[in-house]
Amino acid sequence: MPTFVYMTRCDGCGHCVDICPSDIMHIDKTYRRAYNIEPNMCWECYSCVKACPQNAIDVRGYADFAPLGHSVRVLREEEKGTISWKIKFRDGTEKSFLSPITTKPWGRDIPKLKDVDGPSQEMRDSQLLYNEPKYIRFDDGGVHTLESNGLKFKQGVVY
């Protein structure tokens, strides 16, 4: 399901060219707009879709797989620190998701690991990784489970 560009929306800013991990988003020589030069090498990572400030990039479903107008669109809002997804199924069902993309302002609060004391020999010999209990929140009320968060597991496909 490779990406494609709505040419009238694209303003040729180059963000997708810059971010594509496969280096397949390039600038067209006729209109100076972005396009996917090698659709079959696109792994649908959605990097360019999320990076595009004009929301000019979309992902196409193969005709034999999603022929009836499904849609997966995403809106990444840097200033709010959120990413929203809207999934539209072939039967018209719509689902919306909203998640954080960062919990601290961009470019600040970068841990200064150079200034942190090195691990003790005891920590080195331990099975735990660097700061593991803290970073996976094991030191904050034990293991986080569905039950501890007041959630229930539902069987089957749930909409």
Partner: protein, 280 residues
Amino acid sequence: MFSINPFAELSASIPTSVMQTYVVVMVLLVVGGTVFDVIHKKSATYFFRNWKKAASKGTRTVGSGEIVSLAVQTAVVEVATSAEFCNPKRRIAHLLTMYGFVAYVAAIIMMVFCYPMAGSTAPAIVVQLWYLGAAMVCVGGYWFWFFIRVDVAAEGNSPLRFVQADIFIVSLMVSVTLALIWAYLQATGNAWTNVALGAYLLTTTIFFGSVPWSKFSHMFFKPAAALQKRVANADGSRSNLPKPADRTNPAERDRHSMELLKDAPLNMGLGIKREAPRHY
């Protein structure tokens, strides 16, 4: 030099009617080229098909009064201030080139049709508008071409690489630069004046005559696309995009997935937009 109408001086060697005919032919080339472009690429067909498709997916109907209001907003925001550009440098360069071109063309029309003869003195402001417009096109155009063009800035190509997408900007820059050179040579009585004039006319003809192959018609279809985007937002279809997040809304703020952002500031900063795309 900045108070001399170069076209009035030229009328000593080229009849006024020829100059006026040339301007009319250039206008016809733009109109004809744009119409050919629209028919050949079926842009209008696709545009109205998408318009209907988007309207059918909308959650509400946008009335004609609201469309007029959206068109005015598009003209004021997207057209007059080039608000679609996310890169501020590109936006400034585009504004310089756009307003420079408008001033340059408006001044030419006034000088050629209202004050064409050597005896009819054009107001100094009209002549200065021509020089100022040409200078703005040069500043915006060369800045864009050598430093902020996406081929160079994001793809790392040579600033001197020339492809079809460059016909518009290169022919515009060269034409306007030659106009300034010709005006200077003519004002100083230089022997190379006619050579500069010939080159100026040639590049100007290429600029206005290459509409079907160049990006000239973006002046017309970009505002149309911007209007369609505004209408899609107004009718709720939003091109299938999710609605913008509202972290002040308790329903969204208290979603389980948003728990980690509860204590975060509402403005998290620019993120990826902190840096221009320049990592080739």
